[in-house]
């Protein structure tokens, strides 16, 4: 019990200490720069942040951006997982998708954003951008995870004619899930950032991107930084949620015997 409390305390202490360090360095740098308009001190940014939180438009913009990010991420995640699995089972599928994934990964993000604005609605292009950025990363991680499954276990499963759905649930899934979830956590943050960038260029209504651009045009740098702090906070929370899901998934044990006893 004591060990667990110590672990929890350390898990809270170190992030807080890191945050305090960043704010301290920021305060020192801002004081040294003496340009409060373009390099505001932490106090004015956090004042602006809490004003934003209390304002009417904050949550609408934030939730819309997060919804677009979530939509593009979920579509990318499901597509990547399905295609990676198919690619692992049927090599021609992987050979077909591997060059496509390479092209998507290498394509300059800005060019893709500008093209999607031409082709799509201001509301739709951030979702497409989010998908195009997230998909190749998730596909590569998922394919790598699925193909790293212990061959000896697959051999055993073939000998004993284990049904395919059980191979997936009991061998592939537990083996691949941790790596896929780690990739999902970092890709989700990146998706949010890229969606916001697309919203800035597409001038998507009711979005964090548009609010950031507005703050920039009005030279309200504390507000711009406040939106940045809000975005970072959202990304932290989303990554944390994914890692919680990862922990839940990787600690599941299949207690079929007990189920059999009960029903």
């Amino acid at each position: 019990m004591k060990q667990n409390l110590k672990k929890i305390a350390l898990n809270i202490f170190y992030p807080l200490a890191a945050f305090a360090l960043i704010v301290t360095i920021w305060a020192i740098a801002a004081a040294a720069a003496k340009k409060p308009i373009i390099f505001p001190e932490p106090k004015s940014v956090f004042t602006s942040f809490f004003q934003l939180l209390g304002g009417g438009g904050f949550w609408a913009a934030a939730l819309n951006t997060l919804a677009r990010s979530a939509l593009s991420f979920v579509i990318a995640f499901v597509a990547a997982l399905a295609l990676a699995f198919l690619g692992a089972l049927f090599n021609p599928v992987h050979k077909l998708f591997a060059p496509i994934v390479t092209v998507l990964r290498a394509a300059p993000t800005m060019a893709v954003i500008l093209l999607s604005i031409l082709w799509l609605d201001y509301d739709e292009s951030p979702v497409l951008i989010g998908f195009l950025i997230a998909f190749p990363l998730l596909y590569s991680a998922a394919y790598g995870a699925v193909t790293s499954v212990d061959e000896s276990l697959l051999e055993m499963a073939n000998v004993f004619k284990v049904p395919v759905k059980d191979k997936i649930a009991c061998i592939y899934f537990p083996s691949a899930a941790p790596a896929i979830m780690d990739a999902a956590a970092s890709t989700l943050s990146l998706t949010v950032k890229v969606v916001i960038a697309a919203e800035v260029l597409a001038q998507t209504k009711v979005s964090i991107g548009l609010e950031m651009q507005r703050s920039n045009m009005l030279f309200d740098i504390p507000a711009l930084l406040a939106w940045t702090v809000a975005t970072i906070a959202f990304c932290f929370i989303l990554e944390f949620l994914i890692l919680v899901i990862k922990r839940l998934i990787t600690s599941i044990r299949f207690k079929v015997y007990l189920e059999a006893e009960n029903g």
Partner: protein
Amino acid sequence: MVELKNINKSFSEKKLFFDFNLTFESGKITCVLGASGSGKTTLLNIIAGLTEFQGSCLKDGGDISYIFQKDRLIPRVSVYKNLDLSIKSKIKDKTERKKAIADILKRVELPDTINDIPQELSGGEQQRISMARGFLFPAEILLMDEPFKELDIALKSRLVKLFCSLYDAFPRTVVFVTHDIYEALLLADRIIVISGAPAKIVLDEKIELPRAERDAFGTELDVIKKQLAKALAG
């Protein structure tokens, strides 16, 4: 029965088997001995259909069961689930599977591990579960790839006795690969030694003495011991 005819198999530049022929008698334990790299495991994998080869391999019934060198239990899945998955394709009725699993765990003296995951078991217990799985799966042919390797003498002796009791309860054609002479002397009805590349049979002897009367360190098996030592020394 397992009949291998005109088996050809190479790995990279090395010819493991060239027009190799061997028949394993039905209902008997045949032990294949040989030095490391002689192709013993490859022979098992050819019978199991786990590796490509040229030639033919005829098997009674078609299905095989396997006790691997390492237990190959699915991690973070309970002992019950591990065993259940191995017989799901053969026994459709859940109650029947549950009964069979309970019975085999009793035979290997591990009924209380049913809800444990492999990481919670000792090495010996994991290997016993692996052996249970091998006999639980209904197949005419059982392949064993050095299942007692890396075990200490006391545990090895216990598992050899366990194997004998399981074999008496569930007799089948057994092809058993090892490089341990004493395991072969205690268990085999027939001992084959392969050697060279491509592999050739350099010894093929039957042991008529009943298993229950054998003592690997006694004098009754001295003749075959000498033959084995000579064949393995090359």
